[in-house]
Symmetry: C2
Subunit: 429 residues, 2 copies
C-alpha cells in the first residue's frame, strides 16, 4: 500500500514556480551566449548604472530589512553584513563595473593541436549554463554573483537569506533592468522571491535538470548542507583555516609586518591567518617580537607548550588548531622545520591558503611544492587570497574543493569548454 501525502497548494505553487525559473534561466543562458562579449559588457555597465540610479529605493528596502533584522534579534555582525549605505551601494556598482572590465572568457581557445591524420582540435571555453547561488543575508552578493554569472554568459538563480529579501529584490530588479537596457534576456538573473526554505530544497534537487551547478556562499553549516544534499555539482567554499609559517630564514621585519597584516587587517575574511607556525630554531629570538606586535594590535594569542615557554599566552587546545576564529585570536605552534610545518597544515588545515615567510629560496620552494592547498604563498600576507587581488575582477568565493574550480572563483571559473574538431572527411580506421 502506498500512502499518498497531500501536496499542499502552497507547495505545488512553489514547485511550479521554481521549475519555471529553471526553464526561463535555461532559455536566457542561451540568449546570453549568443549575444557576444560586447553586449554582455554593455549589459554589465547598464546594470551598474541601474544600481546607482536605484540608490534611494535600495536604501528604503534595506531600512525595512534592517528593522526586521533588529526585531529578529540578529547579531551586530549579521546586521553589519545586512546594512547598505550610499558608500556600500556605490562600491557594489563599482564591483559590477570591475567585472565589466574583465576579459570575457567565452570563446577563448584554451588549447589547439593537429593529429597526424589531419584532424585539428581546439578546446574552446563556453558558459556552464545555469548557476544557482545560495547565500546568507548579504544583499551585495546579489550584485556580485549576478555580475560574474553574466560575464561568463551564465544565467543565475539567486537565493539570498530571508532577512535581506527586500534589499535583494530591489537590487535584482536593477540588474534585470540593466540586462533589458542592453537587449539581453532579463531572466538571466532571477531572484527567488520567497523566504520559504523549501525553495532551497528545489534548488538542491537541480530544478529538473535545468540547474548545472550550485554555489553556496556563506557559513560552514550552509555550505556543508548544500554539499551533502545537492543532486547537482557544487562549487563550495567550506572554510579558510589559513596558516602563516615563520621559517628560520625569515626576515624579522617582514615576518612582523606579514603576520600582523595576515591576522588583523580584517579578521572576518576567509584569508585571515588563524594559526601562526614558528620554527623552533628562531622561536626564542623572534616569537617575543611577533607576539608583542600582535598583542599591541589587540590580538589574543593561544599557544602550545613550546610557545608558552617563550612568551606568556593562553593555552591552545586541540580544538584551537581547527577553529576558524574570524576574530582577533591567533593560535601559535612551534614546529620543527618545514616538515613540521607541512605536517601541521596537512593535519589541521582546510586547504585554503598558507604562506611561508623566509629569505631562503630553496626552503620556500619546498614549502610551496609540498603544501597541498588552493593557494600557497611566499613572503606575502594570506589576506591576498581574494579574486580581486588575483586580478580576476571579483569572485564568488574561494573554492576549497579539488575539482573544476580551486581557489578564487571568478568569471573564468564559471565556464566549461568543448572540443571543436575540424576534418576534411576523415573516417576512423
Amino acid at each position: 500500500m502506498t500512502i499518498q501525502l497531500p501536496l499542499s497548494a502552497h507547495d505545488a505553487v512553489l514547485a511550479g514556480t521554481m521549475l519555471a525559473m529553471g526553464e526561463a534561466a535555461r532559455a536566457a543562458s542561451a540568449g546570453l551566449a549568443k549575444a557576444g562579449p560586447d553586449r554582455r559588457t554593455a549589459a554589465l555597465k547598464a546594470m551598474a548604472a541601474r544600481i546607482r540610479a536605484a540608490e534611494p529605493a535600495i536604501l528604503t528596502a534595506n531600512a525595512k530589512d534592517m528593522a526586521g533584522g533588529r526585531d529578529k534579534g540578529l547579531s551586530g555582525a549579521m546586521l553589519d553584513r545586512l546594512e547598505l549605505t550610499p558608500a556600500r551601494i556605490a562600491a557594489m556598482a563599482q564591483g559590477v563595473e570591475d567585472v565589466a572590465d574583465v576579459a570575457d572568457p567565452v570563446g577563448t581557445v584554451i588549447a589547439s593541436w593537429t593529429r597526424p591524420n589531419g584532424l585539428s582540435f581546439e578546446r574552446v571555453r563556453g558558459p556552464i549554463g545555469v548557476i544557482g547561488i545560495i547565500y546568507e543575508s548579504r544583499p551585495n552578493v546579489t550584485a556580485d554573483a549576478g555580475a560574474l554569472c553574466v560575464r561568463a554568459a551564465n544565467a543565475a538563480i539567486l537565493r539570498g537569506g530571508s532577512e535581506s529579501l527586500n534589499s535583494s529584490r530591489v537590487i535584482a530588479d536593477a540588474l534585470r533592468a540593466g540586462l533589458k537596457d542592453a537587449g539581453l534576456p532579463e531572466d538571466a538573473i532571477q531572484l527567488v522571491q520567497t523566504a520559504d526554505r523549501a525553495a532551497v530544497g528545489h534548488m538542491l534537487a537541480g530544478l529538473n535538470g535545468k540547474l548545472d551547478v550550485l554555489v553556496p556562499r556563506g557559513g560552514k553549516s550552509l555550505v556543508a548542507r548544500v554539499q551533502n544534499e545537492a543532486r547537482v555539482p557544487v562549487i563550495g567554499h567550506l572554510e579558510g583555516l589559513c596558516h602563516t609559517y615563520i621559517h628560520e630564514g625569515a626576515d624579522p621585519a617582514k615576518a612582523e609586518a606579514i603576520i600582523v597584516n595576515a591576522k588583523l587587517r580584517r579578521v572576518g575574511v576567509c584569508g585571515s591567518t588563524e594559526t601562526m607556525l614558528i620554527d623552533t630554531r628562531v622561536a626564542s629570538a623572534l616569537l617575543p617580537r611577533l607576539a608583542k606586535a600582535l598583542e599591541a594590535a589587540g590580538c589574543e594569542l593561544r599557544g602550545d607548550a613550546r610557545a608558552r615557554a617563550i612568551h606568556p599566552m593562553k593555552e591552545a587546545t586541540t580544538q584551537d588548531w581547527t577553529t576558524e576564529y574570524l576574530a582577533p585570536i591567533l593560535s601559535v605552534a612551534v614546529v620543527d622545520g618545514i616538515e613540521g610545518a607541512v605536517g601541521h597544515i596537512a593535519r589541521y588545515g582546510s586547504q585554503h591558503t598558507e604562506s611561508i615567510v623566509t629569505e631562503d629560496a630553496a626552503a620556500a620552494e619546498r614549502f610551496l611544492a609540498e603544501v597541498d592547498s588552493a593557494i600557497v604563498m611566499h613572503n606575502a600576507s594570506t589576506q591576498f587570497a581574494d579574486g580581486g587581488e588575483f586580478g580576476m575582477g571579483g569572485e564568488i568565493g574561494i573554492a576549497t574543493g579539488r575539482l573544476h574550480a580551486r581557489g578564487p572563483v571568478g568569471a573564468e571559473q564559471l565556464t566549461t569548454f568543448k572540443y571543436v574538431v575540424r576534418g576534411t572527411g576523415q573516417i576512423r580506421p
Copy 2:
C-alpha cells in the same frame, strides 16, 4: 529512543577494510607525487612488462571467470567483454606503455602573471589525490584506469564487476609489482577484493574523506546510480547519443563514407552515431544513396515520416530519438536547416559528440558554435570521440558532465591545480 541496529561482523570487517584502503591510498598518492615524472614513467613501463610476464596467470584466472560467467548465463556481449586472449593482454600492456609515453601533467604551469604590487602568480597542475573507479566486468579497465591514475600521480581504488574478479586480481597484482619495481608505493593501485556490493556503498560515501572523486565506467544504470548516490564529486559518462548531420552543402561521397563509418565501424562504442539528421533540401537527392549504403552494410533504419516518404524504412517512435542502440540500427530524421538540426540535438542528445558534414564553411562554424556538446565535429566521423584519437594516450571515459572534465578523460583531466604566489614581503592595504 534510538534503535541500534546490530552491525554484523562481516559488515564491520568490510567497513574497516575499505577505510584502511582509503588511508593507504592517501599515503601512496603523496608518495607518487613526490617521486617525480621519470619514476612514474619507469613504473608505467615496469607495469606493462609485469602484465606481459603474467600472461599465463592472467589467462588461467580469466578461464575461471569465463566459466563462472557462462554458469551465470552472461550474454554473449558480456562474455566478449570479459574474455582475455594473448592478443588482448598484449594490447593491454601496450596501452599502459602508451600512457607511459604521454607527457606527465604534474607540475605544468598552466598560467602565470604578475600584479602591479609585484606579487607573481602561477597556476600549477597537481594530482587530484585518490580516485575511485567503479566499472563492470571488463578486466582490461583495471590496467587502463590504473595506468592513467599513476601517470597523474593519483592513487586508484578499483572496483570491477564481480564476474571479472579473478582476472582483475592478477592484473592488479602485476600493476602493483611494477610500482614496486620502480620503488613506488604499491598501494597507489588497490583492487577491492570482494564481490560484496556494500563495498560500492563505502566508496559512494567517500571513505571518510579519503576519496577525492569517483569515476563510474559502464552502463547508464551504473553511472546514474553513482551520480545519484555519491557523496563525493563524480566524473561520469552517462551515454553517447551521437548525431551526424548531413547539411545541404554536404559532399555526397564524404557523407556516405562518414555516416557508414560513424554508425558501423564499431556499433558498441559511445562515439557511434545513433541518429542521422539530413537536411530537407538534399534529402530527396541524397538519402536514398546513404540509406542503401547503410543497409548494404547491415544497418537497420528507422525514420520519421519525411524520411520514410523518400526511402522505405521502419517508423521511428519518439523513443528512438533518445535510444543509444549500441547496435546496427540508425534513426533518421529530416530537418529544416541548421536550426532544425541544432534543435533536434538540443532536445534529444546527450551532449556527447555531434558532427556536421558540409563543404559550406560558414554553416559548419555555425553548427560548431551552436551545438552544446562535449565534442563537435566538421567533416569527420563521430567514432573519433576517443582519448587515444585525441592524442591523450588513453582515456578513462568520455565525460558528459559540464564541470571539471568534459569529453575524453585522460591523465591531464585527472589533475587539479593550485596557485603559487611569490612575494617580497607584500601586505594587503
